[in-house]
């Protein structure tokens, strides 16, 4: 690449006007004022010449090598694929399933259902008979809840039961000691 010389220094107050002059974007009055100044100022004239040499180079599009475009293409394709995958992310859950697996699983599920219905005849009441009483959902929330309501009476008497149990244990232990040879009566 050709090494360009640094820009000639222009008069400070004309620097901006000279750039606009180069692009032809200043008013007629400004243009006339700049041209009058250029006729008398060498520095500004050289600055303008430098602009003529330098600015077109800056506007030139840089030619990219083929490898850049190849890599650019690959990256774009990968990004599009990623975007597509993000859109249908749930499909990836079924990816490991092969085509034959879906009917196979369906058949297995039907077989399990039939076996369950045949051998679980005793429990068919669940499907056949509607539940006669309305059971509050709070009881059936989980197994522990049911157990809790079932043993609520006992829980109310738990302290008393424990005392009685402790007393019985103590009595049993005393009688065992008494029965032992040399035990305290």
């Amino acid at each position: 690449m050709k090494k360009s010389a640094p820009l000639e220094t222009a008069c400070r107050q004309y620097e901006e006007d000279l750039v606009l002059h180069y692009y032809g974007e200043n008013s007629d009055a400004e243009r006339r004022r700049v041209e009058e100044h250029l006729a008398t100022c060498d520095c500004c004239r050289r600055f303008l010449e430098d602009l003529h040499g330098l600015l077109p180079q800056m506007a030139d599009a840089k030619e990219m090598p083929q490898t850049f475009w190849d890599s650019y293409y690959r990256e774009t394709v990968a990004k599009l694929a990623e975007q597509e995958e993000r859109k249908y992310w749930w499909r990836s859950l079924f990816k490991p399933m092969r085509t034959w697996m879906v009917p196979a699983f369906g058949t297995a599920a039907v077989a399990v259902l039939i076996v369950g219905l045949v051998f679980g005849k005793g429990n068919l009441r669940l499907f056949v008979e509607p539940r006669p009483e309305r059971i509050p959902q709070e009881i059936l929330a989980d197994e522990k809840q049911l157990e809790f309501f079932e043993s609520m009476d006992m829980l109310e008497a738990l302290g008393k039961l424990e005392n009685q149990d402790d007393q019985t244990e103590a009595l049993n232990s005393d009688s065992k000691h008494a029965a032992l040879p040399g035990g305290v009566a």
Binding site: N123, L126, I135, A141, D142, E143, E150, E156, D165
Partner: protein, 90 residues
């Protein structure tokens, strides 16, 4: 992406466990005798009308009961049933 998958699986497991619990409770209910069912429903109705401090006390007793050793629980349960039968005869 990965986080969303993990959340999806966790939610599935949570629902599965919840359903399993509900099915177990339903199964437990079906295997109760009519008298036991009646007792559960009676206790539930009584529970609803209990004052707050009694409810808390019962919950604490329940927690304590669950922490008791298995043999002790069996003994206490047996004792309670004997006493109840005795009261029934009186």
């Amino acid at each position: 992406m990965k986080t969303r998958k993990i959340l999806f699986i966790a939610l599935g497991l949570f629902l599965l466990l919840g359903a399993q619990n509900a099915v177990a409770a339903d199964d437990g209910w079906r295997h109760l005798t009519p008298t036991e069912k009646e007792r559960v429903l009676r206790n539930y109705r009584r529970w609803q009308n209990l004052p707050k401090q009694d409810k808390e006390h019962l919950r604490e007793e329940w927690q304590r009961w669950q922490r008791l050793p298995e043999d002790r629980r069996e003994r206490l349960k047996q004792r309670y049933n004997e006493q109840r039968r005795g009261r029934g005869r009186d």
